[in-house]
Amino acid sequence: MTPVEAVVLAFVVGAALATALLRDVLASIIAFAAYSLGVAVVWLLLRAPDVGLTEAAVGAGVTTVLFLLTIAKTVRPASEDLFVDVDPTALGVSALLVAALGTTLSALPPVGSSSAPVATSRVTAYYLENAYHEAGVKNAVTAVLAAYRGFDTLGEAVVVFAGFVGLLVVLDRGVLA
């Protein structure tokens, strides 16, 4: 755990708390954009540049714009208070969730250990050894995405397509007029 990692993680948790607690929806959306940017940096620290690129473009860019469009289309409730009133029941339930997840913590491998199950898995070793001469690409993520798990990715592309069609149906629009 380097100081950089500690600072970025603290920023992410802080931004998430701000997103949850700010009462003004616009402020909450802006905090969420900052949070997404922090998460994109976390992906870079965890050596996942592909995921970082996507998160930076999607989380901090597209999702934020979609949220802003929604409040422009609907309403942004005015309020004097800076923070929301915390609902004790919801707080209890989510604290319980965190506590239940926390009990599994000692059973998980330390982050970054080279003996962790994911790192020593046969699947991981196979992809890394064979990606170049089987798929012909040097980015193992692309090889797994488009070659080894091509069927899965086709499904994902169709889900994005279906999301587009679904939104048109929800908004009662035949085409994007």
Partner: protein, 171 residues
């Protein structure tokens, strides 16, 4: 109607007038700084998106990342120059065609492999030099087209809102 408007803490007349004020403000007030910045930055971001999409084979990137970056260029232009003019400039049928073409390209690559006697998406069955690399590249481009088309489509879809509301507003 009072039950409807009260929840937001305003009385009905006030919230109604506020809404009308918002509608009146809707025509975008053009800011020369934002427009100039977008005009300069947009081609570079578009090139970056295309680079990320096509160069996914050997460096970080790929169809999903590149597609979203290309999509954000259109979002950027739409925010700077107004949603309506951008939508007219793009034409709705083009977007719908893009999304369909992307999925069709992906499936087409899979079916081509099938036609040459391989399994679905078995690139090496296609009798082309480096078939796997070109197959993956084509699939990535297909994904990029779907994702960029869908991102832009979702934006314009949400920006135009429910079809029924237009009819009410016009009548």
């Amino acid at each position: 109607m009072s039950a409807v408007a009260a929840p937001d803490g305003d009385d009905p007349e006030e919230s109604e007038s506020q809404r009308q004020r918002e509608r009146a403000d809707r025509p975008y007030v053009e800011s020369p700084i934002i427009m100039a910045t977008v005009r300069i930055v947009a081609p570079f971001v578009f090139t970056l998106g295309a680079f990320v999409m096509f160069h996914g084979a050997d460096s970080a990137g790929g169809g999903f990342q590149g597609g979203v970056i290309v999509g954000t260029v259109i979002l950027m232009v739409a925010i700077a120059f107004g949603v309506e003019p951008t939508r007219d400039w793009l034409s709705a049928s083009l977007l719908t065609t893009l999304v369909v073409v992307g999925v069709a390209l992906f499936m087409g690559v899979g079916l081509t492999a099938l036609a040459f006697g391989g399994a679905f998406l078995e690139y090496t069955a296609i009798p082309v030099h480096h078939a796997s690399k070109y197959g993956i590249e084509l699939v990535e481009v297909g994904i990029g087209i779907v994702v960029s088309g869908a991102v832009v489509g979702l934006f314009f879809g949400l920006a135009s809102g429910h079809a029924g509301d237009d009819a009410e507003a016009e009548s």
